[in-house]
């Protein structure tokens, strides 16, 4: 009845091929097949956003998508963020601003935030709250999460401005 089928998903830049049952959810594919356990399962009912990953750059609740639907697509998980052991600005900002306590919701929070900052490099607090309204945190009270995203935005903007400034100085 349920025949396994081959899928190839590019996860954090690596092409991964596996035989999966169609009923396997993307989150289980990531956590169990690929052993990428940074993506968390919080509620299992599409409410909490802990399992949020980026599919083709767009935040998706990976508990509400089938692994077979990700065939041929690019998926980004929290494991991709600290390239070469250096924290991504969003990770550094969550740490600096105390944007987490238990950390369970953090991977989803950060991935949703990254998608927001790609679209709106200079978001208002309202933009941040709106973008994160599908991600639930039970510890921080959200204030520091909003602060962290604001701080990451400033960091990323400053970092992006450096090459431009250098180029301007050279000319």
């Amino acid at each position: 009845m349920s025949v396994s089928q081959p899928i190839t998903v590019t996860v954090n830049g690596d092409r991964k091929t596996a035989e999966v049952e169609p009923r396997l959810l993307l989150v289980h594919f990531l956590r169990e097949t690929l052993r990428l356990t940074g993506t968390h399962i919080g509620c299992d009912t599409t409410h909490c956003g802990a399992c949020t990953v980026l599919v083709e750059g767009v935040p998706v609740k990976s508990c509400t998508m089938l692994a077979v639907q990700a065939d041929g697509q690019q998926v980004t998980t929290v494991e991709a963020l600290a390239a070469g052991g250096t924290l991504h600005p969003i990770q550094a900002a969550f740490k600096q601003e105390h944007g987490l306590q238990c950390g369970f919701c953090t991977p989803g929070m950060m991935l949703t935030s990254i998608a927001l900052l790609q679209e709106k490099p200079d978001p208002t607090d309202e933009d941040i709250r709106w973008a994160l309204s599908g991600n639930i945190c039970r510890c921080t009270g959200y204030m520091n999460i909003v602060k962290a995203v604001r701080s990451a935005a400033a960091q990323m903007k400053a970092a992006a401005a450096v090459p431009a400034a250098t180029a301007a100085a050279r000319s």
């Binding site: 998706v60 998508m65 089938l66 639907q69 599908g134």
Partner: protein, 290 residues
């Protein structure tokens, strides 16, 4: 949580998809955005033997005005509705509803047509389509038929859609000048279903109401069209008395049940208040304000 086993089909064309549905009949479910269906599969409220995923079919994600109709494709997602300048300027009831659907992450995947076909009595889009007097195009391998939104919903999660059919297009009469709309929703928190919501769509003509559409969410076994309230508005000047009368009729059309979100009286009263406010907002917009 794992869904029960099923066979997965991802056809590349609509013909292929309709062929599969024709062959599989009641054993198959169509998968669009999956934001209602996949949770149902996980909770094992649904366990179809086959899923027909239409996401690989090209050209189903569209929103366009053509031949006097606004046409919405089967894969047009909530997120796109939320960002559409066309909806914001000419179909405000849709533009108002879109950002109130579930949460931003769900809106990235969920579709209008999928939500309508799912027919949750607490779903928002069905109500919006009732207010807009939309037509739903239902296509099977052998035939295409058009059903009025008001004839489409037949009860909780029940519609006129046959197992062999796909909701292939939603058609809404193109907005004329002096059209305004509004969608008001009461929810306990972001992502919750409506406690009550009201959709209003107004077409003004020479200072009077040409036509009015009013839909009600979460106050009955299905999305409700408040026909008597609509009739009371037709041809009337939109003064306070008329608005109050229509709002009272809309409240009467509601069939709420008491639950953890509120009592019968409370919900009925929210319908009344939201209909008043919705009519005022829609009127203002029809006159070029708000």
């Amino acid at each position: 949580m794992l869904p029960a086993p099923f066979e997965y089909h991802a056809p590349n064309t609509m013909d292929e998809a309709l062929g599969l549905l024709d062959e599989l009949g009641e054993d198959a479910k169509v998968l669009a955005g999956g934001q209602s269906l996949i949770p149902l599969l996980k909770l094992r409220f649904a366990s179809p033997a086959h899923l027909v995923d239409i996401n690989k079919i090209k050209d189903l994600d569209f929103l366009e005005e053509r031949d006097g109709m606004l046409r919405v494709g089967p894969l047009f997602r909530h997120k796109s509705a939320e960002r559409s300048s066309l909806l914001a300027s000419r179909y405000q009831v849709m533009a108002d509803a879109a950002p109130q659907i579930a949460d931003p992450i769900i809106r990235n995947r969920g579709t209008i047509a999928g939500s309508v076909a799912h027919a949750d009595p607490s779903g928002d889009w069905g109500t919006v389509l009732l207010a807009l007097d939309a037509d739903l195009v239902l296509r099977s391998r052998s035939a295409t038929r058009t059903v009025k939104a008001r004839e489409f919903f037949s009860g909780p999660f029940s519609t006129a859609l046959q197992p062999t059919e796909i909701l292939s297009e939603i058609r809404i009469p193109a907005a004329r000048p002096q059209t305004g709309g509004a969608y008001l929703k009461l929810e306990r928190k972001v992502g919750d279903f409506a406690t009550v919501a009201v959709a209003v769509h107004l077409q003004m003509e020479d200072g009077k109401v040409g036509s009015a559409g009013i839909g009600l969410t979460a106050v009955g076994p299905q999305n409700i069209k408040a026909g008597q309230a609509e009739a009371a508005l037709r041809g009337a000047s939109l003064d306070d008395t008329t608005i109050k009368e229509a709002a009272a009729l809309a409240a009467e059309a509601a069939e709420p049940t008491a639950d953890q979100r509120g009592s019968v009286e409370y919900k009925r009263n929210v319908v009344r208040v939201f209909t008043e406010r919705g009519l005022k907002r829609a009127y203002e917009r029809a006159r070029g304000g708000g």
